[in-house]
């Protein structure tokens, strides 16, 4: 038999002004199973809490209903008080007499009646409450950071500096990402490499960071605090311990005409290569697709010239398993590729290039050593056209969103061009100038006013080549939609920033969601920008949406703080409001019939399949099982379950039906 205590609070006069609290307490005292009922001026005050505690002890209460304010306000307070008196905190429920009753209704009998109903509902519910224990989950205090661009670098360093271990994996041979390709950065025009490379070196030398380049995530299992990740370390075909990075092999490699990824195809590299001179680690890998030895079975020049005998042609990919407690995804973005713009001739005309290619032309470490020379004939372009929104904000191209960074980098490109090519003429075709950011608008104004960049508001319909010139057909919408034709020497497309190829597969491996454009989805657009909807997995940088450097870095530091917060505890404590699948004695084992509708309902991939086997190891039954580490307690599975085999603690079928019936029996 339940012994329930009902504690009706006046909240000063907040409740008692419109509700007859004494009558509520008196009525509740007459309910079956109520052993104690009292009203008091301030239940949350020390004497009020002591009233509850002593009643629990003296009357041996099995459940408590506090009728006061919203549980969103004081539920933790009263549950804690119950726990201190030795009652399981989850045996305490609250009836909301203030926000939902006394404050919103006039004084009168109806309001007191409502208060009584609200108390009765909870009195009946609490009879079906069960003692629950908080869930404790151990934490592996190592973080996995996926992606070694600026976001991944920042996140790794920030986590490592809090004293926790970090494993950083990068799919390319060097960390650095897109930022290492950039010439100067807006709005300060400081050299990208100059600010980035020290960070890259710091990563390589940090005692808490283990760096694996040329490595990708193979698979992931587990949950917050307890992930197991398999990492594929792609074969570099060299022994990294022996290699000193002397560069003999890359100098002597006979295959020299491979378009360099780092230079966006504008420069060449060898088959054994270091992507760029400041690469970290500064050791080469062999590109097996282009290496003569792997194609024809002979060459081995690199092996001959290597002074430390570090070349390993027979090296194989390694699969490595690591245990980590949290993951930061910082895989970045890419730009739209050729043949996406037949009307602009990208991929057809060598002098129509992307913004990222222009970065390489403008970069002192680039193929032209920082001189702006067009790819087709190495001439300095006298007239250059920049196209903003090449693909972006264009639903017909499938990219209705704004790529965000282009307005700024185009202003920067035009500015760099004007600085480097004196007397050159530059044009920018734009839809709108979106320069929201510290010093951003001023930067664009500088390009227009100080450097004389011609901004034309309108779009370009077509670009074609004629007599060695690129004819750009556009429109100036500020001049009454007048057609504009420019004979340019070079055209730079601000191609839309899009999700990486393979983003979808990665998201599926990680069980995180992604938006229609395959950018990873944050848990809440405002309040949880770096969390994903899988606990313990965080986002940083442009894998979530197009982001500039300051934003990527800020996000990375945000994600790092989340990881550090997680790692500050030895065990994670969670409210036990989670779903459970019932278990029964053999031969039924569970009323679950294994339809797994719940699996499709669960937004957290928290439901697994459990095999029930007999002593001989033969499968008897396949039923659902909730992983308490992943379940967030929404209860969607409960409403899906056709056999009512899954239930959610704190909001069970029994409790909810009881509430409905208790309410209406006397309503």
């Amino acid at each position: 038999m339940s012994k329930i205590g009902v504690f009706v609070c006046h909240c000063g006069e907040n409740i008692s002004a419109t509700v007859d609290c004494a009558k509520v307490a008196e009525t509740a005292g007459n309910y079956d199973g109520v052993a104690f009922s009292v009203d008091y001026k301030y239940m949350c005050s020390d004497p009020g809490q002591n009233l509850i505690k002593s009643a629990i002890k003296e009357k041996g209460l099995t459940g408590v209903v506090v009728a006061s304010c919203s549980p969103r306000m004081h539920e933790p307070t009263f549950r804690k008080a119950c726990a201190e008196a030795g009652l399981n905190p989850f045996m305490c429920e609250m009836a909301n007499l203030r926000e939902h009753c006394s404050w919103v209704h006039e004084k009168g009998e109806a309001t007191t009646e409502k208060a009584i109903d609200l108390v009765r509902i909870l009195v009946e519910k609490v009879k079906y409450n069960h003692s629950l224990n908080e869930i404790k989950v151990p934490v592996t205090k190592t973080a996995l950071v996926i992606g070694g661009g600026i976001a991944g670098i920042q996140a790794s360093l920030d986590i490592a500096n809090t004293g926790h271990k970090v494993i950083l994996i990068e799919k390319d041979p060097s960390i650095g990402g897109h930022m290492s390709q950039l010439s100067e950065t807006f709005p300060t025009l400081d050299c990208s490499q100059c600010i980035l490379t020290p960070r890259m070196v710091e990563v390589a030398q940090h005692p808490n960071i283990t760096l694996y380049t040329y490595a990708e995530l193979e698979s992931l299992e587990g949950f917050i605090g307890n992930f197991k990740a398999k990492i594929r370390r792609k074969s570099k075909s060299i022994d990294e311990k022996l290699c000193t990075g002397c560069g003999q092999c890359t100098t002597k490699c006979p295959v020299k005409k491979i378009p360099s990824e780092f230079n966006e195809g504008l420069g060449k590299r060898t088959a054994i290569y270091v992507p760029f001179p400041q690469a970290v680690p500064n050791k080469p890998v062999i590109d097996r697709i282009n290496c003569t030895y792997y194609i024809k079975g002979k060459c081995k020049v690199c092996e001959i010239v290597c002074p430390t005998k570090a070349i390993r042609f027979d090296q194989e990919d390694q699969i490595m398993e690591v245990e980590v407690g949290a993951i930061v995804i910082a895989t970045g973005f890419t730009v739209k590729q050729p043949d996406f713009f037949p009307e602009y001739g990208y991929g057809k005309y060598p002098d129509v290039i992307t913004g990222l290619q222009f970065e390489r032309l403008a970069s002192a470490s680039g193929p032209t050593l920082g001189e702006i020379r067009r790819p087709s004939d190495d001439k300095v372009p006298e007239k250059i056209v920049f196209l903003a929104c090449a693909g972006s904000r264009d639903p017909a191209k499938g990219i209705p969103y704004c790529s965000k960074i282009c307005c700024m980098y185009i202003a920067k490109h035009a500015m760099l061009y004007q600085h480097k090519v004196h007397g050159g003429k530059s044009y920018v075709f734009y839809m709108d100038i979106r320069a929201g950011g510290k010093q951003y608008e001023e930067f664009v104004r500088r390009a227009i006013e100080d450097d004389g960049v011609n901004y034309v508001r309108g779009r370009v319909s077509r670009i074609y080549e004629k007599n060695g010139k690129l004819i750009v057909n556009g429109v100036d919408t500020l001049l009454n939609a007048m057609p504009v034709e420019i004979e340019a020497d070079m055209v730079v497309l601000a191609t839309a920033g899009i999700a990486n190829e393979g983003a979808e597969e990665l998201a599926q491996k990680l069980h995180i969601s992604y938006d229609p454009y395959k950018f990873f989805a944050e848990a809440h657009p405002k309040l949880k920008p770096v969390e994903t909807n899988t606990a313990g997995i965080f986002l940083a940088g442009a894998c979530q949406a197009p982001r500039d450097i300051p934003e990527s870095v800020a996000m990375a530091s945000g994600a790092a703080v989340k990881v550090a917060g997680l790692f500050s505890q030895d065990e994670l404590t969670r409210e036990p409001i989670i779903a459970v699948v019932n278990r029964q004695a053999p031969p039924v084992y569970s009323s679950c019939v294994g339809c797994f509708l719940c699996v499709s309902a669960c937004p957290y991939q928290a439901i697994e399949k459990e095999e029930i086997k007999n002593r001989n190891g033969e499968l008897i039954k396949l039923i659902a099982k909730v992983n308490p580490g992943l379940c967030q307690g929404c209860g969607t599975c409960v409403a899906f379950c056709r056999t009512k085999s899954i239930d959610i603690q704190g909001y069970t079928h029994e409790q909810m039906y009881t509430e409905v019936m208790a309410l209406l029996n006397e309503y």
Partner: protein, 149 residues
């Protein structure tokens, strides 16, 4: 004769509508007292058999309310609830349950005034419909045989 006071049960999620109703309180916006809120973690948790149970037990009207689409605390629970509601509504139409007695809406944690408006509107419309005595005729449940769903 006194005006008919309908019994209205509100099934709401903890994160948006419950908090929205709290805001109605802290804003001291007055509304009709004929509603009793039952708190769920998420509208996705609401088994619609509970709605039938409420009618069976004598409710005259029902409000189901949760987070706006895309704002669900659990990402997608409200979408499940909405989809289920579409199915449930046709089932109601088929079986003769008057769907005008069920108000399905979204109230966010910031929409205290909206909550008051929805309650008032529901009370008015249910008052016009009168007591829901037809349900017992439609359902013809054997007395008290069905309890927990």
């Amino acid at each position: 004769m006194a005006e008919f006071e309908p019994k209205i049960v509100a099934f709401v999620c903890n994160w948006c509508t419950y908090a929205g109703a709290d805001l109605t309180g802290t804003s001291r916006i007055k509304y009709a007292s004929n509603v009793r809120i039952i708190r769920f973690p998420c509208t996705g948790r609401i088994d619609y058999m509970l709605l039938l149970k409420a009618f069976d037990e004598g409710a005259d009207g029902i409000i189901v309310s949760g987070c706006h689409p895309n704002d669900c605390h659990y990402t997608s629970g409200n979408f499940h609830a909405r989809r289920r509601w579409i199915m449930f509504r046709s089932l109601c139409d088929f079986t003769g349950i008057n769907t005008e007695r069920i108000k399905f809406s979204w109230v966010s944690a910031a929409e205290g005034a909206k909550w008051a408006a929805i309650v008032n509107a529901t009370v008015t419309s249910i008052r016009e419909l009168g007591p829901y005595t037809e349900y017992k005729k439609v359902a013809k449940y054997p007395e008290k045989e069905v309890t927990h769903g």
